[in-house]
Symmetry: D2
Subunit: 398 residues, 4 copies
């Protein structure tokens, strides 16, 4: 094991916008809950530094792959005044990256002790793993109720805590997942590519299965937006029995990926009439799930209203895409069709099921990868992806 490592850290300048007030969870110069109100001039730098030390309940992980997420791109982007474009929790100088996989190098004493008492050795040197980015406090009322994604003091790996665009990363036992199940189907780099992409699938699984109550097998579904979240949605929906899945996405490369993941149809929303196409391809029945993964809820709300009315009752608009603030709903439509609008975020509690789905070959997230890069290329690609909306998943391979 080396003594130093390379890591991609994001540096920021603390310049609160006029009128921004610090809450109890903001730390001047260090931590903001709404990044774009406090942080300016984001720059990603590759630094050479000592390896991190682990605590008694933590593991040191040799990172093997780390995807670039839309949030990473937003953090490193800035508006005309130079403020970061990312509006959630952000710390200064943290290692970014949270969609990752790697191999355990070392585990803390308490993990060893815990495993002995439990009679199960899940983690040891060499175990392939991934970890969730939600780092819940474990003590608040919501953690006490097992609702970790609603934690009062949640931190995020790769946002406010050191993440995984680095040769080594650290995670607590409470947030690590073994990828051992993947070894039957995958090995070497392929295993780690698949493993790094569990994270976006977990968020979509939570939204579509845990929160939206999923669809009944045989129902139709529509996905708005073919970025990594939308593509994960397409793959998951087909894997759980959606009969017709229709994607709307401007990029032809992403539409092709969607088809490889099982989409029955993939259209450029600029070239077709969304509502007509949906009605036609579903034989007038419409979809039961409209999965909004592009942050354009406001722009499509009249189409959804039309489809809620024209299609069968009991349809849901499931929101996951950040972006436009306000959407309009017609109360009469919801009342007459028992329609639902619901949102979701986070990913706690669903990881093992997602890992098993990938292990069983029900979803192959590697199909979303369009480019493998090195850690050194990450800063450039974080810049490129501000405007390039053609790539699928860009992933750092170590």
């Amino acid at each position: 094991m080396k003594e130093t490592m390379k890591a991609a850290r994001l540096f920021l300048d603390w310049q609160p916008r006029k009128g921004s007030q610090l809450g109890p969870r903001e730390v001047k110069g260090k931590l903001a809950q709404e990044g774009n109100k406090f942080w300016r001039n984001p720059r990603v730098e590759i630094v050479q530094e000592s390896l991190p030390k682990i605590g008694p309940t933590e593991a040191l992980i040799k990172v093997k792959a780390c995807g670039i997420c839309g949030s990473d791109v937003l953090m490193a982007s800035f508006d005309e005044e130079g403020y970061t474009r990312y509006g959630y929790i952000m710390g200064n100088g943290v290692i970014i990256g949270h969609e990752f996989s790697g191999e355990i190098v070392e585990i803390g004493n308490e993990i060893r002790d815990f495993q002995r008492r439990a009679g199960k050795e899940v983690f040891r040197a060499g175990t392939p793993v991934t970890a969730q980015c939600v780092v819940n406090c474990g003590r608040c009322e919501k953690c006490q109720e097992g609702k970790f994604d609603e934690c009062w003091l949640t931190e995020e790996r790769g946002f406010s805590l050191d993440g995984a665009m680095a040769e080594y990363a650290v995670a607590d036992l409470r947030h690590i997942y073994s990828l051992e199940d993947l070894t039957e189907k995958y090995s070497g780099e392929e295993l780690f590519l698949a493993g790094a992409l569990i994270e976006p699938l977990a968020g979509v699984y939570k939204a579509l299965v845990s929160i939206a109550g999923s669809l009944n097998p045989g129902d139709n579904a529509v996905v708005i937006g073919g970025g990594p979240i939308g593509l994960a949605g397409v793959a998951l929906l087909k894997a759980i029995g959606a009969s017709t899945v229709i994607l709307f996405e401007p990029s032809s490369q992403r539409r092709e990926i969607a088809k490889a993941l099982g989409a029955d149809y993939a259209f450029d929303p600029g070239e077709v009439n969304l509502k007509e196409v949906v009605l036609e391809r579903t034989r007038g029945v419409g979809a039961k799930i409209y999965f909004e993964a592009a942050g354009v809820a406001a722009r499509i709300s009249s189409d959804i209203d039309f489809l809620f009315k024209a299609g069968e009752a009991g349809s849901k608009l499931v929101l996951m895409g950040h972006g436009e603030e306000k959407a309009t709903v017609s109360t009469e439509t919801l009342i007459s069709g028992y329609n639902v609008v619901v949102g979701s975020h986070g990913h706690s509690g669903v990881w093992r099921n997602v890992i098993r789905m990938v292990a069983a070959g029900l979803i192959d997230p590697r199909k979303t990868i369009t480019r493998k890069i090195t850690l050194e290329e990450a800063p450039e690609w974080l810049a490129t992806l501000r405007t390039n909306k053609e790539e699928g998943k860009v992933i750092i391979v170590f």
Copy 2:
């Protein structure tokens, strides 16, 4: 049994508004799907006429009580151009009234035969009954799936078919419910008063229990609007374990009724700050159900948005009140709080449970009654209630 009866019929003039088009389910001069686009000059008249004849699967019912519903008032109201204010299915010359109870006088041959084969005599002369107003076709795809409130060709008793503001009414076996369970706790007029008010409770039960998925016992709830639907909501929510129930309603008489039905608090929305009051009375937790029964979703949407954010995650706005068309939702709020907006209408499939709740004394809908009137007084009260928003339930007693 008398040979003639008195009945309150609603007469209308067929004068389609400019641009209104007849669909396959409109019948010129007889039936409109959206009343306020076709019908003008509504007038309610008490007529003397022959008793109705029953078919082989129907029952003749001696009506004992019939409530006046907000929809009845709207049908008989008109805008500045004289068009009825009611926007749903309406036929010309039908007997109005659909919240009713009565006693069976005669049953058709096939009912007799059916009961013999089933070995159960549920209905016979003298059985106290009520009937649903949704008269589904029984043949379309939705009826085939048991989703009667989504019937393609639904008709409505008291709207497009003869209803119950009359001395006698007719209903098909498919839509009648025995009130025998009520006889343990109620008798005479009291039984029929309680029985006539099963209908509004059934609609609220469907919205809050079947569609919204109800609340977890111990959750808090807020009801917007203390008309008959809002009051039914208060009573039901307390009966199923809501801990704190807060009503907002301008009329002091209705607020008093709400308290008698179990509301923990009842406020005049003009005198308090809705969102502050809710947070305070729920100790910062907020409500899990916000039940909109006043048709003012648009007006309260920013309050709800605030409460969704300030209170615990997983709250629902349940829409039942017709009125303002468009409401605005903040997608970020829904996403960060797993919040839900959902609507409901209809009442099929839940009647026996509601009847048993009333029979067990869990809900006493008679507490909403503020006035008993005769059939002859009905036309005048239908007019009065256009502007009087202080009454609870006004009910015709025979």
Copy 3:
């Protein structure tokens, strides 16, 4: 259209066993609710007869394919005293067969009228269709609540009413489903083979999705028994996201079919230790669904008890296989693991979703077919299948 047709009718002798009493729904010499208590000497005969006449709400269907179900075999089987082995509703002299598809030849007047008013022409001469075998009364309390499979006076097509092992069959609009969705993927005989096998899938869909609440995608599942129901279970479970599906079935031919339908493993229960194999292949996690489709619940109950304890909590034993009467459960196991035992039958309300799944290619029920026969060969195959437990689906093609 021909004036006569061939049909396979099942004739029986009315000889009530000692002590059997007629209930209100038994008709001497004609109809028994529990066949094996009344009917003796079953014989299937191919008869030549007039075409059936249709009523105003019925359709005449030219049958194209009709599968032989385990129930058909049981009805035509007999015990050592000559009594039929089938223990449910059975009429004398009815045309048997209920897993069928065909083409509409003629529709009744009221269907025509209904479609005109609804503005949708779903059925016309030439429409490919199938029909459910549950013929619910449409009038009882359970039909009134949309719970058709719980109908007080249910009859069964192919059991107490004329079925589909005939050149023509009749069904009411309430029970017919269009197979139009299949025409995108299938044509000619292939369409009708797939369409005839919607019925067993519908029963399994009801059990696993509607009643058992299905599994969470990524959960594992075990299927006991690889007859047509068990095979349908394998196909459905994989289609809705089960990660590892393990079948236990003695016949090697059926195990091969299971693998073609997606089973990850298929074992001969005589050659492996069920509980060890399940724990091993699920990496110690066990299954969330144990689907009993062989009628051997009693025999496997100690294995299930072991697996409930050894695997993760929250597992379900879902019973669909008729056979052994009594099973034993350990209350301590259920208490400590939140385990569930639940049963299911019937298939109302789920057909359109199943048809869409087959239309989308998520399940291909044709893979279960091991033999196509003619109507004339049906009596012989009904006899052969009493002992032959190697065949998959044997299907009559017209």
Copy 4:
């Protein structure tokens, strides 16, 4: 604050039964997972000792009330060979008692720090509190999924860790609940009596609401056994809208308590025919929930089978009572009625809802108290309750 305190400790002799093997979680002479296989000669002694010290995430609680649970009685009981009768986790020399309430005396540094960062001061000296007895590890896969009652290494306050039959007790922030909500309705001793009885309600809430999926409001329910769990079941079922609730319990005193808690009927099972009485009082409909809280599942299984068949479909037998190991179910009954058998234990995640129900007056658990005693009287009452099955809740008041 005093420097010493009185406490009731349970001392045991480590004498493994022949054939008992130590697992990875047994500690010789200290801890057994199945008490009755290892521990002999239980004796409860009142000891005088130093006050406990708290860790940084713990609180010191001045105990105000502590109920005696059936498990406490079983631990202190012994069979003919002198082995304890309690079959679950038991440590030697621990302070027993887990149904308690008290007032915070001191909180650890990390709690203080946590509350500052969260901007909420939930706990401080004087706050009335209770705590759950499930002390989950917080690190295993099940804790990681928020399923704390399924923890791999769970310990139990009052069983393997020091409990609350003492003047002071200690609990970690992760397991404490504020009783502040109760202060609106209760004060002084009454508040602490109500607060100490949240625990048994929480277990019943988990079983009936979270696991069994509760009943639909208006359904009927039957409770078997009127001990503290059965009585909590009666109270909860009425509070969530059960229409008719029938209790079976031999003790007349307990039957009277049940009526005070809302039971519609309470019968001595030795004097009536359970199945006839249930059918009669539910007018032939039966119950949707049969809640087994007496540990007699095997003995009543044929009655339940009869009622499953005779009543409406979709009924559930919910098991919570430990006792007889094996019960028999008829697979045909479950299949034909969609019936469910399910078990439950534990209570994590539901406490705040239960506290709010008690705070709102929906359930008053003080009604189950039949005797208040002092700590010094506890050993004697633990002995008395081995045979006395007439008392409701016996509770220690400090």
